[in-house]
Amino acid sequence: MDIDSNLRREIILDNYQNPYKKEKTNDSSYVKVNSNNESCIDNLDFFVKVEDGKLVDICFDGEACAISTSASSILIRSLIGKSIEEVKNILENYKRMINEEEYDKELLGELNVYFGIQPNRKNCALLPSKAINEILRRVSDGEDNQNR
């Protein structure tokens, strides 16, 4: 089902103005990365807690535009509690959608609001997924201890 543009805007705006899990943590069991876009001024920190192969908690904090902030909020809501493999699959499909490639629409749920995003906003939309991918890379490389 295609999302009507008003509803789409409402979802994005709601997640921008009341973002889910926009909070900092000093808990050292979380892996932290800073993700910023070279081409813009978005600057967000992401914190992920991985336990038994699952992303049991994710939060983020910082300053960013409406698209980056809302995408972080929606993405985090859809990833918490999922296994690393499930998360990787969602992130890959999300990236494919943003880049206008074939993707699994059912899998992405509310993230479909970013389908057909303007080309100059793609980097904003991809900012949180890049950050979480980076965290997963660090976790699998066992680098998390050094980079907390």
Binding site: R8, R9, I12, L13, Y16, C40, I41, D42, N43, E63, A64, C65, A66, I67, T69, N120, R121
Partner: protein, 397 residues
Amino acid sequence: MNREDFPMLQKDIVYFDNGATTLKPRSVVDKMVHYLEDYTSNIHRGDYDAALRTNEEYDGVRKIVGDFVNCDLEEVIFTSGCTMSLNMVVFGFMKNYLHKGDEVILSKAEHASNILPWIKLSEEIGIVLKFAKLGNDYELSLDSIKEAITPKTKVISIAHVSNVIGDVRDISPIGKLCKENNILFNVDGAQSVPHMKVDFKESNIDFLSFSSHKMCGPTGVGVLVMKKEHMNRCNPLCYGGGMNQFFEADGSYELKSGPSKFEAGTPPIAEVIGLGEAIKYLEKIGMDNIHKHEVELKKLLVEELEKIPNIILYNKKADSGILAFNIDGVFAQDTSIYLNSYNIYVRAGNHCAKMLKDDMKIKNTVRVSMYLYNNKEDVLKLVDVLKRSEDIFKVII
């Protein structure tokens, strides 16, 4: 003024990002194309007609720059841009000149290229960086600089016009103060040389840096004006052809004196020639006229924006064509994306002045920066679009 000279303004755009780079008039583009199509050749090496012509044009620009900022032509060094010029001052000259414990006065409103090289040098040789206090409007006053001076102060390094706040620093009295106290005066002219008359000699400047592309010229070339007396002490950052007298297998060598010493390799010839044409273009209009025009436009913009309740202005007072603002509660980048929907080009961010957030308590702003070709209609269009910004998210999402 002179809008018809700028091909890019034939499109329906309002260009307010002149602090980042400026549009190019047809005459500058033509001059460069003429070199590229009709007499391309390298400088200082050929005996044929085209090469002689190139020499004449290239060297001629030194004289044009000298007349423009009132320095000797032997003091004009072509660099790749203002950033390179500032790096050349710090790593070519200051690294030889300063010692551990010597103090350098900066301000937190400086551009990255007038802070980071200093931070690196302080890491390397232990100089001390002191930040002169900014006033209530984030402006840097002569008094604040006076307060920061100690017997250990060896250098004052500041922008003539800061690139976010746009305050015009009082460089002549500061230059005088430097001379009286045996302090070297390094001036970042990136945001002033394109917009107002700058006088190297009268202001007692030791080093003046600026970029061509911020003054109607091409990218890839800038200028460092260095007092002749400093040239021997300054090391080039780059070694190679065109900058040496001789070198031998036993390791002996001698470098050229004067600007050539700092211009190893083939320079950006077309760009230097373009810069010369840009300066001629600006001088024809008159630097005082340009400055006056920008200040008038800014005044109008401030007056109009003050009527809009949710617009926050950060530098109303500053006497230049730069205005930093935000729409209350809206991230600066969202505002600039919104304005782009109406073909209004501005810049959002910290504008490379990342320390300014310590004083301003805000990281990002939208910056409007004017130039000679902006007009009242541009200002009023911006005001109109900002007045209607309650639907900003409808437009950008």
